[in-house]
């Protein structure tokens, strides 16, 4: 189903629609069939205008089996359209999904327009001549469903057929089966009277430019490659497979021609260690993971902080704690990113806001790491990682120069001082092995100011702790002020970070559409905060902080600014629905 969803999305992107997707799948690779827990869904929102979210309530639901119907029917728009694979509605299967009667026959679906399609029977027929046999035959039914949708929405057929050719070219019978099933679905739409109307979604009016459809993980990977070029450093990416971050490793592993070195480590700690070793050697060192892996890496991150080596740690957050909801989204690692280390160990935290924001934000995180010689945590999440949206390509010729020169000469009359700080940034020099005359030793023991020798002296430890803290705090002078999308007279500000940005933006539009006034702001830098944040928050009567956690940013704001903001929490493994945030905003405005 994920494949069919992705193809519909690509065809829509090529057609020129704005779009937003929300793939969701179970943690098990082959989850038990016909159970609610085993349902894999792909939600896609396409529009002829600028849209922000995958939508709260789909207009059309394609249900391949009773479990899929049961799991998703509640979300379908009132009077929405249901395309149902009738072959799957046997007593055994609808019983397994928890129905006590066949929902196709007992009136459950009366409020909807139901398009019954015997997908299995039709698929078998369509595939008959291809030579494909056995269980493989029914795998093509997703393409039949895709064909039906392509017709309903007037999607171009060619891109999908071409894609099927490129994907399945090596197995001719599968290629033929999928192509036939896709065409059969499309033709079914044309020829049967069941489909009385089609949806016409014209190309969206979008800002001029070249667009590509990207997922968050893809854009982070590309951002890492671009950051390497902008920093004039070779890229070293060390990672251990973990959902939902592995696609970054996959994408980078394909890009050897960019000189990218990927290192699939023996464990999360090994990945962090290998990255740190590469950083010591003068590479752009990155390690990627999700929450459980970030916990494992924390000791190594502290070493990076102590040795003041630049390193990027990407945390694609998922539902926690522990294994939690590994394939579902959450924003609950924020406090771990800020504070999840031993000792006084501040480091910069930057958060990706959406798939189309990921490229630029990744470069920004790398810029900070290099300029301030520090590990930086870049937060993404499962929703951003797997979701796709059109991204207007930046001018790649005009990427900022974020390179930092290596130290190549002595920085004092008679010796190299590895901890002699730049007075402006408090950053230490980066002298890499291979540089004659600058041999030095670094490590986890406290360093003596300047010389970097081992120092057990108390006042020196306090001085160094203070340096490390001020270095990170000072980055606030080097990041933009937070911008408010405000309205004169608004009393409520909605502040978000990370993947809630799209739902917040859409909710604010809805509220304004209803005639109420509301302001909105989005935080990219979570540590340090933009200089003007306290002032901005203080200028509103109420500040609403929607988060897919139990109020982690909310807690930080209260601690930092002594402000009584309003927490709005959701931890269901799913993004906010626009309507949920809209209702909360209206409630605050009216209160």
């Amino acid at each position: 189903m994920q494949l069919a969803g992705a193809r519909f999305t690509e065809a829509s992107a090529i057609f020129g629609n704005d779009l937003s997707t929300f793939p969701s799948y179970p943690a098990e690779i082959r989850a038990p069939a016909d159970t609610l827990g085993g349902v894999s869904t792909f939600q896609v929102h396409i529009a002829d205008r600028d849209i922000l979210t995958p939508g709260d309530h789909p207009d059309v639901l394609v249900a391949m089996n009773p479990a899929a119907l049961k799991a998703n029917l509640a979300d379908l728009q009132p009077a929405g359209t249901l395309v149902v694979n009738t072959d799957a509605f046997t007593e055994r299967r609808w019983t397994k999904a928890g129905y006590t009667a066949n929902p196709l026959e007992d009136g459950t679906l009366d409020a909807f327009t139901v398009l019954p399609v015997p997908m299995e029977e039709l698929t078998k027929k369509a595939v008959e001549e291809t030579g494909l046999k056995g269980r493989g035959v029914l795998r093509s039914k997703n393409f039949l469903a895709l064909g039906v949708l392509a017709w309903m929405y007037g999607r171009p057929v060619e891109p999908t057929i071409k894609w099927i050719e490129s994907k399945f070219g090596s197995t001719p019978e599968v290629l033929a089966a999928n192509t036939n099933a896709f065409k059969a679905g499309y033709n079914l739409g044309i020829t049967t009277e069941v489909f009385r109307h089609t949806y016409e979604v014209k190309p969206a009016k979008m800002e001029p430019g070249t667009y590509a459809n990207v997922t968050g993980n893809q854009a982070v990977a590309w951002g890492i490659i671009a950051a390497g070029q902008a920093a004039k450093l070779p890229v070293f990416y060390a990672s251990y497979p973990i959902t939902p971050a592995s696609d970054i490793l996959h994408e980078l592993a394909r890009r050897r021609n960019f000189g990218v070195r990927t290192f699939q480590a023996e464990d999360e700690i090994g990945a962090a260690g290998a990255a740190l070793g590469a950083a010591f050697g003068g590479h752009l060192a990155v390690t990627g993971t999700s929450g459980p892996g970030l916990a494992l890496k924390s000791e190594t991150i502290s070493l990076a902080l102590m040795t003041e080596l630049p390193m990027l740690i990407v945390d694609v957050q998922r539902g926690g704690p522990s294994t939690g909801l590994p394939t579902k989204t959450e924003q609950s690692d924020l406090l771990m990113a800020l504070y999840g280390r031993h000792g006084e160990s501040p480091l910069p935290v930057v958060a990706v806001g959406s798939p189309s924001d990921a490229f630029e934000t990744t470069i920004e995180a790398v810029r900070i790491a290099l300029k301030y010689m520090t590990p930086v945590i870049l937060l993404s999440d499962g929703y951003i990682a797997n979701g796709a949206e059109p991204w207007r390509l930046p001018d790649l010729e005009a990427l900022p120069d974020i390179s930092v020169p290596f130290q190549t000469e002595l920085n004092s009359p008679d010796r190299y001082l590895p901890y002699l700080r730049d007075p402006a940034t408090l950053s230490r020099p980066w002298a890499i092995p291979g540089t004659a005359g600058l041999q030095h030793r670094i490590g986890g023991l406290e360093k003596v100011d300047g010389t970097g020798a081992v120092g057990y002296d108390g006042p020196n430890h306090e001085l160094m702790t203070d340096y490390r803290e001020r270095k990170i705090a000072g980055i606030a002078d080097d990041i933009p002020d937070i911008e408010v999308d405000g309205e004169e007279g608004a009393t409520v500000l909605v502040l978000g970070w990370g993947s809630t940005s799209s739902a917040i933006h859409a909710a604010v539009r809805m509220v304004r559409h209803q005639g109420a006034k509301v302001a909105r702001a989005h935080l990219r830098h979570l540590n340090p905060f933009p200089r003007n944040l306290g002032e901005v928050l203080g200028s509103y009567q109420k500040v609403l902080v929607p988060e897919l956690n139990r109020g982690q940013l909310w807690r930080l704001l209260r601690a930092e600014y002594l402000l009584d903001c309003t927490r709005f929490s959701k931890v269901q493994g799913e993004p906010f629905k626009t309507g949920e945030i809209r209702d909360k905003i209206l409630e605050l405005i009216e209160a």
């Binding site: 001029p208 430019g209 050897r256 260690g273 050697g281 590479h283 291979g434 041999q439």
Partner: protein, 335 residues
């Protein structure tokens, strides 16, 4: 660009702070002497260590160095060596650091054949934390954390390295500087991961642990010097020998079996089976124990294979172009 250096050139300005009489001093001197003779540049040499007494080592070398965190040195060194194949990367670690908290990193570095040289100072005790039993302490050892005797079965580090697909495995003794230097020399000639277990005396918490191999009286009876291509013999007059049958090593008297029946050591044998059998002669250095190069076989290094893939990709696809990358799964223009 090598220059002639002396041992002093390889000494850092840091005061060496091991306990007086520690075996680490001897190893440090051996390594510094060896480095001076090797003729590599100090700036192209990196020592990475973990945590423990031995892991202070990098501070005393006038090279690049990192004194990292407990057990992680092989991971950090792997990243460095893969990123910078031009460097000579050495790991200094101990029995607790390498085999307990860092066991996973060690075995994976071995199997990958990353070009790092691992010097494992094995003193069979936790020294820096003041005397607990380690993963190489003999069973029954009484320490602060095992007052009634340890119930842990120890690792045999050489067996472990051989099992981890190491392409170079050797063992030496701190006090025997010539032998130590010979092992360092062989390891440095080897392309890929090299593992050297160095029996190192902790005179404070586990003194005379290696007496069987270092004591004036005992050593000639117990030291089995492995030499490639030679029958394995030992004893003051080489009167003892080693035979391997059914995969098991047996100590025999040369006079009884004849020299021709003895196992002839082949460090370059493709199969590590015989080397493994030799490593099982002694489970702890309390009786006849082999030292020397157990295994030294050529295998391509991780970083060479990786760099070849990069070269191949750049040759076949051209150097990466960002514009092509970001449009690789399709793009469209909005006027």
């Amino acid at each position: 660009m090598t220059e002639t250096t002396t041992r002093q050139d390889w000494q850092s300005n840091q005061e060496v702070r091991w306990c007086p009489g520690c075996g680490d001093y001897t190893i440090l001197a051996s390594v510094q002497n060896f480095m001076a003779d090797l003729g590599v540049a100090r700036e192209n040499t990196v020592f990475v260590s973990g945590i423990g007494c031995s892991s202070r080592f990098p501070y005393y070398m006038n090279t690049y160095g990192m004194h990292s965190i407990h057990g992680r040195a092989p991971a950090i060194a792997s990243g460095l060596a893969v990123a910078r194949p031009d460097l000579s990367v050495w790991v200094v670690t101990g029995d607790g650091d390498a085999l307990s908290i860092g066991g996973n990193h060690l075995i994976h570095a071995m199997r990958r054949n990353v070009n790092i040289k691992v010097l494992l100072f094995n003193n069979q005790i936790y020294g820096l934390t003041k005397g607990q039993y380690s993963p190489t302490s003999e069973k029954g050892k009484r320490t602060k954390s095992s007052p009634m005797g340890s119930v842990d079965t120890p690792f045999n580090p050489v067996s472990l390295a051989l099992g981890a697909e190491a392409s170079f495995v050797a063992r030496t003794i701190d006090m025997d500087r010539d032998h130590t230097v010979a092992m360092l020399e062989a390891a440095s000639q080897h392309q890929g991961s090299a593992f050297i277990e160095i029996y190192q005396n902790c005179n404070v918490f586990n003194d005379k642990a290696f007496e069987a191999l270092t004591g004036k009286e005992e050593r000639s009876e117990n030291r089995i010097n492995l030499e490639h291509g030679k029958p394995v013999t030992f004893g003051p007059n080489d009167e003892h020998g080693v035979m391997i049958f059914d995969g098991t090593p047996h100590i025999v008297e040369v006079a009884e079996v004849g020299l021709a029946s003895l196992h002839v050591h082949d460090a370059h044998a493709e199969s590590p089976a015989a080397a493994f059998a030799l490593s099982r002669l002694a489970h702890g250095p309390f009786g006849p124990t082999p030292i020397g190069v157990f295994r030294d076989v050529p295998r391509s290094t991780y970083e060479a294979d990786l760099d070849r893939q990069i070269l191949d990709a750049q040759t076949s696809r051209g150097p990466g172009n960002l514009q092509d990358l970001v449009t690789s799964s399709g793009s469209w223009v909005v006027e």
